[in-house]
């Protein structure tokens, strides 16, 4: 429904809506950055291409100074919405937002819109990754035959939500299943991630998951060893056509569309979005090219419903902290 409105509005004004995004890694990291970039292009397609929605992006802005310069530039160039797609950009966003009060900004991975500090042109958005983590956990537990599951994280403390949710999901189904978590100490060390996968497999794991762009290496290994992989953030099925069973996908499309709508309605910020199964921000995709036990699919769907209905809450799990 929303898209039609947008179309009308666009038609009404003619000039395309201009979005700029600044992201830490590459548009093709098959993780955090790519998930947003793909969503943007999806929205663009839905709205009717270039002349409805103009997208400008700066990738590889891992250096915050550069990102902050980019954000400021985009604002100065009069973009309607400037998306700072990284936690570390917080400072910069608010600093620029106070200088460009009639430009709208969005800050990734946070619920802080600065409203309490009298800033009202900043949106905030984040993913409740532990929901998908939980479901993937359930799936993992059901797939695992020798009840050993391996998790490959980037840096301890990062991807915490996803991993905590995952562990939760596993333990709900198989309380005594063993979840081995190992961190590579980096976001992009594909080599170590790959070896971590090997190690997990040799340590008996028959289901693997992991996060950050480094996992490409691990998926390759899972693929070679025919061990199930559960993806997250962005679509990883293409990497492991035979082993990626499920994939939690961040679908920012609605968030973006909604922000656009609000902005055009003159509301420049203040909302904090959270991707959930509930609002279709999180999606669990099954790999169609391999056939998956219906019981598993069923359990996954059930888990999702439970989460939607609030029957289970995968969020609060401070105690079982590694």
């Amino acid at each position: 429904g929303r898209s039609n409105q947008d179309d009308e509005e666009v038609d009404a004004e003619g000039a395309p809506f201009r979005v700029a995004i600044v992201m830490p890694s590459s548009t093709t990291d098959i993780a955090w950055s790519q998930s947003m970039f793909d969503s943007l292009t999806a929205v663009q397609a839905e709205m009717g291409g270039e002349d409805a929605l103009k997208i400008a992006y700066s990738e590889g802005m891992f250096r915050v100074t550069d990102a902050s310069a980019a954000i400021r530039d985009y604002a100065a160039e009069g973009y309607d919405l400037v998306i700072a797609h990284g936690a570390q950009y917080g400072n910069s966003v608010f600093e620029v937002a106070t200088d460009f009060t009639d430009t709208s900004f969005a800050w990734g991975t946070s619920s802080d819109t600065g409203a309490d500090r009298g800033i009202n042109n900043v949106f905030a958005y984040g993913a409740v990754a532990n929901e998908g983590g939980y479901v993937n956990g359930v799936v993992a537990a059901m797939l695992s035959e020798n009840d050993v599951i391996g998790v490959i994280g980037p840096v301890a403390g990062d991807a915490k939500l996803y991993i905590d949710g995952f562990v939760r999901g596993v333990t709900v189904v198989k309380p005594d299943a063993q979840v081995n978590i190992s961190y590579t100490g980096s976001f992009s060390d594909t080599t170590l991630a790959a070896e971590a996968a090997h190690v997990h497999i040799q340590a008996g794991a028959d289901v693997l998951t992991g996060s950050a762009q480094q996992v490409v290496g691990a998926i390759g290994v899972a693929n070679e060893n025919g061990v199930a992989w559960l993806g997250t953030q962005s679509d990883q099925i293409s990497l492991g056509p035979d082993v990626v069973v499920t994939n939690q996908i961040y679908n920012w499309a609605n968030v973006i569309a909604d922000m656009i709508a609000k902005i055009e309605a003159g509301e420049l910020g203040g909302t904090a979005y959270r991707l959930t199964f509930e609002n279709d921000g999180l999606r669990l995709e099954f790999n169609e090219s391999i056939e998956i036990d219906d019981a598993v699919k069923e359990a996954a769907r059930a888990a999702i419903e439970d989460i939607k209905s609030g029957a289970v809450d995968p969020v609060l799990i401070e105690e079982d902290d590694e």
């Binding site: 980096s186 594909t190 790959a194 040799q202 490409v216 590694e322």
Partner: protein, 310 residues
Amino acid sequence: MIDELFTISTLIGILHSCVRLATPYLFASLGETFGQRSGVLNLGVDGIMLMGAFFGFYVVFEGHNLWVGVLAAIAIGVMMGLLKAFVSVTMQSLQGISGIGLYLFGLGLSSLLFKTLIGSVEGVSGFRQLPIPLLADIPGIGHILFNHNALVYLAYLMVPASWFVINRTTLGLKIRAVGHNPEAADTLGVSVNGVRYTTLMIGGALAAVAGASLSIGLQNVFQENMTNGLGFIAVALVYFGSWRTVGVLGGALLFSLVNALQLWVQALDIPVPSEVAVMMPYIMTIVVLAFTARQIQRPAALARSYERGE
């Protein structure tokens, strides 16, 4: 828990990981050894690795044979070596810095080509596990040493091969001489720059294969900056091995062993904070060298560009 670490199967697992992990370091470090023995420091290894990783991957991605991929990597590696040679031998530039330039160039270009030619992270089926008949069945050792993919074996074959070239061939003699006293070599009609061009091309080729060993050997995927600075470690390992092929082997194995160990420690969730675990390989390398460092025979002319008296 902790006792699991000392079960036979785990130890075998650790060593198996170690042997495999060492692969890229071996290729790259041996390559760098050639260059440094002839007196050229190349800090650009990581850039060359990335180029090798990409071209190896791209060729395979385009549906060609894996070995064609390796050849492609070698080809690009030789070219990168030539570039480095031109800059630091012919143009006699500061070698430490030209290496950084080469690194940036390789890093950027590989990513650029990746974006334009492929566009998204894709998988290929690379070199598969190739258990060596009979040998692989030896209990323990068999799995540790003889149950890897072809490139892993190749990496280890490169150790004696490099040793042989450096110590048993006329080229090797020239390399050692040029690296230690270019003036002397020159007065005997050895082309100092010629030798250095050669070693840099060899080094480039090996570095590129190191990259390929990741993209079509161990991970079967290409991603921007997938080496993640591995090449710099490789250079460091040459110092660790004090310019001897065997020493380099030792360095690569030590570094990989500690890495494998820390991965296992985590995987078996033995109560060691992962923050500490991930630092261990780097700390250990320094510590071990600090305790073993002796009057090493470094190529006296290392990183010094050569020009005749006038």
